[in-house]
């Protein structure tokens, strides 16, 4: 009997990682989608049962049909390319400026004096209040839209970079000083990398704002983009298309958030943090 248990044990141990991987897949990949699927089912039921009319709440089937129609006539792909291009350009500019300002203000007391107050004031201004100003400055073309997104993105990146740098343990900076490391090395390997968790949190906030800024800018004057389809759909009371645009915004938002999380997983692998139980 003892022999039997001894031969059983190894296989049981060998099986365990596989079983755990399977459980992790269902827990981490499928479980979070349960509530969105439930919402979809409720939506479907409410519209199919006729509780709310199709002009207010079109059924999910109608929304999918609208997507199909707009894909076939080419408007949706064109809109996606235009919108994604604006968000990408605005985000890149905003992140670059926000990072530069945050590192400058974080590293140098003098930089903080120059940069911090104006950006704190900018933070207090709702960015869509800047639309009239930006129209005057940049016209109603692409630049106005990209700049508006860039400004929206800049603020959270700046705030989180600055806070992240100032949160780095001064004892680590002291190590850099003792070993006479050049400034760029202290700035990069100690302050920037140390601030990275905070910067990535800022990036997630920023991307959420980028999508909001996109909608605002595209409803001003556009002839392409998701916001343009949205404005047109509203004008012609195409609620199915309105819903489609909302769903697309939701998915793009989740997608960008997911990409930042992937980035966090890669860049912050060193962290030893509590993941919830």
């Amino acid at each position: 009997m003892t022999i039997e248990t001894e031969t059983l044990q190894p296989t049981r141990i060998a099986n365990r990682p596989q079983r755990r991987a399977k459980r992790d897949l269902s827990r981490n990949v499928l479980l979070p989608w349960l509530s969105p699927i439930a919402i979809l089912l409720v939506w479907w039921f409410v519209s199919a049962a006729g509780i709310v009319g199709p002009k207010v709440l079109p059924s999910p089937v109608l929304v999918v049909a609208a997507a199909w129609e707009l894909t076939l006539n080419g408007r949706l792909p064109q809109a996606l390319v235009a919108s994604l291009g604006r968000v990408l350009a605005g985000t890149i500019i905003g992140v670059a400026l926000g990072l530069a300002a945050g590192l400058l203000a974080g590293y140098y007391r003098a930089g903080q004096i120059v940069v911090d107050k104006p950006l704190q004031m900018l933070r207090a201004v709702p960015f869509n209040a800047l639309v009239p100003l930006f129209i005057v400055a940049f016209g109603i073309g692409e630049w106005m839209k990209v700049s508006l997104i860039a400004v929206g993105v800049l603020v959270p990146i700046y705030l989180n970079t600055f806070a992240g740098v100032r949160n780095v343990d001064s004892k680590l900076v002291e190590v850099g000083l003792v070993y006479r490391a050049p400034r760029y090395l202290i700035a990069y390997k100690i302050l920037f990398l140390g601030a990275l968790p905070s910067i990535l949190t800022g990036l997630r906030f920023s991307l959420a704002i980028a999508w909001i800024a996109l909608v605002t800018s595209e409803t001003v004057n556009a002839n392409a983009g998701i916001g343009y389809i949205l404005a047109q759909a509203q004008r012609f009371v195409r609620t199915d298309q309105v819903f489609l645009c909302i769903v697309i915004y939701a998915f793009l938002g989740i997608l960008t958030d997911y990409l930042v999380r992937l980035l966090e997983g890669r860049l912050l692998a060193w962290r030893n943090t509590y993941d919830g139980r």
Binding site: K171, E174, V178, R180, R271, N272
Partner: protein, 242 residues
């Protein structure tokens, strides 16, 4: 290799005197331990030698080629062990030099590990390796083993003593562990109220074995200087005064 020379070094923090006219010459290659109670100014003295603090008055002659190991290992958690050790080194030959140093402290297999996965003793070894790769003339140790458990501490003391013998550094170690000071140092300085109150030479070379009978007597002598009352039965014989 230059000596370290302190002349009338004083330090005040907001008019509170911390160091009061320290005169100290540390010959090249000597291992000196500075002991004292909390607030005696011993850490400040080390930070002044390291250049992390400016003396309020006095003259300091030191070297640029110094390395420091602190009580906390102070590793960047976002850099792998090898990157921490090689921090700020020129890229040329870096990986070989780093690998050699990690080998010397007995962590050859840990080059690609994250610091947060290391034990306290391992982290402290990495911090030593980071000092080693700079080929310093002077090694400053600020209570380097204070946070380690008793057994790891003994291992680390042996390691530091052995490395000191092999490399011939000048070592200045601040500690509140008198036994540690006596095991390792050539000379133990007692700091009290910002002044040097005693200097005791320890015969032989460190790292000394705990079996060494002289050590207990020296330890007792130093503890008396520090004002620690000893139980009557353990009164040490009057030997080994410097």
């Amino acid at each position: 290799m230059p000596e370290i020379r302190l002349e009338r070094i004083s330090k005040r923090f907001d008019d509170v005197p911390v160091l009061d006219g320290i005169d100290l010459v540390i010959p090249a290659g000597e291992f000196i331990a500075i002991v004292g109670r909390s607030g005696s100014g011993k850490s400040t003295l080390l930070r002044i030698i390291a250049g992390l603090e400016q003396a309020t008055s006095g003259r300091l002659q030191s070297t640029d080629r110094l390395a420091v190991a602190f009580q906390e290992a102070r590793l960047m958690p976002w850099l792998k062990v090898a990157e921490n050790v090689g921090f700020g080194l020129p890229a040329k030959d870096q990986s070989r030099i780093v690998a050699d140093a990690l080998g010397e402290v007995g962590l050859a297999g840990k080059a690609a590990s994250w610091p947060l996965t290391l034990s306290g003793g391992q982290a402290q070894r990495v911090s030593l390796a980071r000092a080693l790769v700079r080929q310093p003339e002077v090694l400053l140790l600020d209570e380097p083993f204070g946070a380690l458990d008793a057994l790891t501490k003994l291992e680390m003391q042996n390691l530091v003593g052995t490395l000191w013998r092999a490399h011939g550094w000048t070592v200045v170690m601040v500690t509140h562990d008198v036994a540690e000071a006596v095991r390792l140092a050539d000379r133990v300085i007692v700091l009290d109220g910002g002044q040097i109150s005693e200097s005791v030479a320890i015969p032989g070379r460190g790292p000394r074995s705990p079996e060494d009978g002289h050590l207990a007597a020296l330890e007792a002598q130093l503890l008396r200087h520090l004002g620690v009352p000893l139980p009557a039965g353990n009164a040490a014989p009057e030997t080994a005064h410097s």
